[in-house]
C-alpha cells in the first residue's frame, strides 16, 4: 500500500459536489503514476459518498503485476469518510484496427457541432455545472427536448465533446468525457440529481485529436435505479471507450 493526496479542483464541481468522471480520472492517474503500464484498460468504481472539493486521501494497492497487465486498487477518503473504491486493470492500448466491430458499435448520425446546442454551465437554481466550464459540449437537439420543456420520453442523449480548457486528449480525459453528458432521465421527464453508484469503464483505444461523439443510453429505468451506458467515438469513427453506470433517481 502507498498513500498520496490529490486536490479536487472546485471548478469541477456540480453544485457543491465534485464531478464523478473528473474524480475518477484523478484517482486513476495517481494510481498509474510511476507504474509499469501506461494506460487504464478497465476501471471499476463504486461511489460510497459524494466528495467535496479540496484534498482527498488515496491509498493505492498493487494487487498483482503480470506480463500483459497489472491490477491495482485505490481507496479514496476525505477526513476519514469513505468516498470511493476503484479497481484498475492497466496495460498498453492496442494500435491496430479492430478485427470485428458490431453494427451497433458504429457512431450515430448527428447534426454538425454547429447545429447542436452548447451545454449550459448553470443549474436552473444558479448552481455551477463544472464540466460545462471545462468541456466544449454540444448536445444533439433531438435528445434535449427537456430544455424546451418537451421531454421526448427517449432514454438517450447524444453530444459532441472536446476539451474546452486545453486538456490533452488521453485515456484519463475519456473518463471525464464519458461521464459528462446530462443524465437521460431529464428527457424521460424526471428532474433531480442522478447519483452514480457504480461506474465501469472500458478504454479501447487512444483517441485521435478533435471531437468525440458521445451517445449515452439507458435500458431500464425503474424502482429508483437506472443503467446508463456512454459510448465514445473519436473523429475517425473509432470506438475509444464505453462507460457503464448504475445510478439512482428519485420520482420528483
Amino acid at each position: 500500500m502507498s498513500g498520496t493526496t490529490i486536490d479536487l479542483d472546485p471548478s469541477w464541481s456540480i453544485g457543491d459536489k465534485i464531478h464523478g468522471g473528473y474524480l475518477l480520472a484523478e484517482v486513476v492517474r495517481a494510481a498509474l503514476e510511476g507504474g509499469d503500464y501506461p494506460h487504464p484498460l478497465g476501471v471499476s468504481a463504486h461511489f460510497a459518498s459524494a466528495p467535496d472539493p479540496g484534498a482527498a486521501d488515496v491509498e493505492i494497492e498493487l494487487l498483482r503485476s503480470g506480463r500483459r497487465v497489472e491490477f491495482l486498487r485505490a481507496h479514496l477518503s476525505q477526513g476519514g469518510t469513505h468516498r470511493a473504491e476503484v479497481l484498475i486493470t492497466a496495460g498498453t492500448l492496442p494500435d491496430e484496427a479492430p478485427r470485428y466491430v458490431s453494427a451497433d458499435a458504429a457512431p450515430p448520425e448527428m447534426p454538425s457541432p454547429d447545429e447542436c446546442g452548447r451545454s449550459i454551465a448553470e443549474t436552473p437554481t444558479g448552481g455551477r455545472i463544472g464540466p460545462a466550464l471545462h468541456l466544449d459540449m454540444r448536445l444533439d437537439p433531438a435528445t434535449t427536448g427537456w430544455i424546451r420543456k418537451e421531454p421526448t420520453g427517449q432514454g438517450v442523449v447524444r453530444a459532441w465533446i472536446r476539451p474546452g480548457d486545453g486538456s490533452p486528449i488521453d485515456p484519463y480525459w475519456l473518463l471525464i468525457a464519458g461521464d459528462a453528458p446530462p443524465p437521460v432521465t431529464f428527457d424521460l421527464g424526471l428532474r433531480g440529481w442522478v447519483p452514480t453508484i457504480t461506474l465501469d469503464a472500458h478504454i479501447r483505444a487512444l483517441p485521435a485529436p478533435g471531437w468525440l461523439i458521445a451517445e449515452q443510453k439507458a435500458q431500464v429505468v425503474g424502482g429508483g435505479w437506472l443503467d446508463e451506458t456512454c459510448t465514445l467515438w473519436d473523429e475517425t469513427g473509432r470506438l475509444v471507450a464505453s462507460l457503464r453506470q448504475l445510478a439512482g433517481y428519485k420520482e420528483v
Copy 2:
C-alpha cells in the same frame, strides 16, 4: 475486515480452472451473508489470476453502510496468490414494473428450447465444461455455426438457460448464468481460451421461475481484447441482469 474460507467445487471447473461466474457467485454470497441488505445490485470484479478448485481465502471489508445500500469489498486469494478483487453494492431489488425500457432491451426472438442444441459438457480435447453439468443451456443454432465448423462471423451468442441441478433461481444464480454462454469469439473463427479480466454486473430484478434468455454480444474485438455484454431476461420477458466483461483472446 473479516476473513472466511470458501470451497470451490471442482465440478464447476472448465478444464482445470474454476468458472468465473460460479466463483463470483460464491464470493458475493459470502460477502452478503449476515449483512443488512439481501441482494447484490452492482458487482465489479477484476480477475488477477485463474483460481484452482478447492479452498480459497476471502477477506471482506464493509466500506460504508447507508440508508439504501451498502458498499463492500472482497479480496480473494489462494495460498497467498491473489485471484480476484470484487466490489459489491448491496441493497434490495425493486418489485414494481419499470417505468422505461428501451427498444434494444427487449428479449430477442429465439427458437423454442427444444429447437435449440443442448450445450456440450466436454472440450474437443476431453476437458470438463463444468457449467454444462450444472446448467440446462440450449444454444440458438443461428449463433453456433462454429459447432458445424461454419463460423457466422457475428459477435453474438443466444441461449436458453435454467438450473440443471436444482439450484434456486436467485441473484447469485444470475451471476453464474450471465457468464455461462460460450464466448462470441468462437463464431468469429477464433479458438482458444478467452480469460475474463474485468466483469461488472447489474442485477435489476428477481427472476421469475423457469427459463432465462441470454444474449451475449461483443462490440469491438481487436488488439487482443474484446468486450462481451450478456443480457438476461426471465420467462416473463423482464430484463433481470446485464453482465459486461473485458476479456483477452489470442489469434490462433
